[in-house]
Symmetry: none
Subunit: 133 residues, 4 copies
């Protein structure tokens, strides 16, 4: 099973609402279980460089079925996955990417958010995930 467009749009709407709540401008990407782009939204005047980063965060979260920030803890100098970012055409391993699971716990896709601090990016991504819970 993979995320549907209806689900993806619902997650994006929730993420946009949270972004507005906390006074940020975000880029929000949703990928399916195959790591393919399903839906995307760039809020007006959000960073242009985050269009790409949001998509990479979503793919990274699905590639390894974990929050991107968890991977980033392991990819630091001296860490067990140092420089893993060089794989898969370029990963992003700081927070803002989260897997999306169905009720049974199976990963059906992922969300990636970029546009503010990584704490804010993570908060907005979590709002997207929560909208489908």
């Amino acid at each position: 099973m993979s995320i549907t467009l209806d689900q993806a749009e619902k997650a994006i709407q929730a993420a946009k609402a949270k972004a507005a709540d906390i006074n940020t401008l975000m880029n929000i990407a949703i990928v399916d279980a195959g790591a393919n782009l399903i839906a995307f939204a760039h809020m007006d005047n959000a960073w242009l460089g985050s269009i790409d980063i949001a998509q990479r965060k979503a793919r990274t979260a699905r590639y390894f079925d974990m929050p991107t920030g968890e991977l980033g803890k392991l990819s630091q100098p001296g860490g067990s996955l140092y420089n893993i970012e060089h794989s898969n055409g370029g990963l992003i391993t700081f927070p803002g990417g989260l897997p999306i699971k169905d009720a049974s716990g199976t990963v059906i896709g992922a969300i990636g958010v970029s546009g503010s601090t990584v704490e804010n990016d993570h908060t907005v991504a979590q709002a997207g995930v929560d909208a489908l819970a």
Copy 2:
């Protein structure tokens, strides 16, 4: 001036409705005046390969401010723009990409649609453009 996310989402909704009307499954991409991705939607079970093509059509339409199919007439063997597809990281020059203009005729972005015949792709892209007229 560039297309807003509200406008982009309105165009995508109109394109999705037209795609459903003509019984097709489409990928729909909107780029802004800077050729950056603003919004995207992959209808459930639409071709995966068209995720990339829809985005390339949108960028191509904005890069040259003309319908992608017009460019394709010039890029054929012996044509004046033969193999222009090699530029800009890869263009798509068959129909399905259209510039989006404001009331004054200024290009504010573009739409790219892929998932069916090029005639259907063009029809759905036009529906997106018309929604903002």
Copy 3:
């Protein structure tokens, strides 16, 4: 649903047997429903350049859920999909790639074969598909 590794290996074994039958040396790739590589085999002394082509054929067949050769008929000069090969990081649109479907007709992956004439490539790919029928 996506193809399993067991199924992929069964398809590769059948393809290898057919390749030997017709006295060819092939590269054989299997991708899943998300177009991700599941299994691959390079027969000894097969063309090195076909390692990449086999994988691109498999992805292309899944991207558009059709035999690669069908796409190639449309991508010729003057055709409706001229130069579609520039999308998705590079497509291969001559024969040798085929979708793989389950009993209900849902595409669960694809096979790509390269190493000989396109007729032989297609024959060997078909043997892989048939092994799962």
Copy 4:
């Protein structure tokens, strides 16, 4: 001399068996003496992002005829090969890639494994190497 497909498949089967033994889901790649992909297997539900990493580990191990983890010790900040990962289209320098040698000690290819901790990846890669000893 280079590894044969029969040898590569034998190494993959041994690696898969070891992966199952230690309760992990792995991606396993074998390259030949020319660093070209010979065989690959993605175990069902293994990380999608490791499809690429397993192949990079195998290539990296053959590029420098040493375990990937040895290279990773030298590529750290301040190290003699700092950021060598930028070369060759992207290297992976944490454990899980090992050269494969023939009886005379000549490198005939390499194995790359990705899907779990780097310790587990290395253990499974070693099982592949041992199967050919």
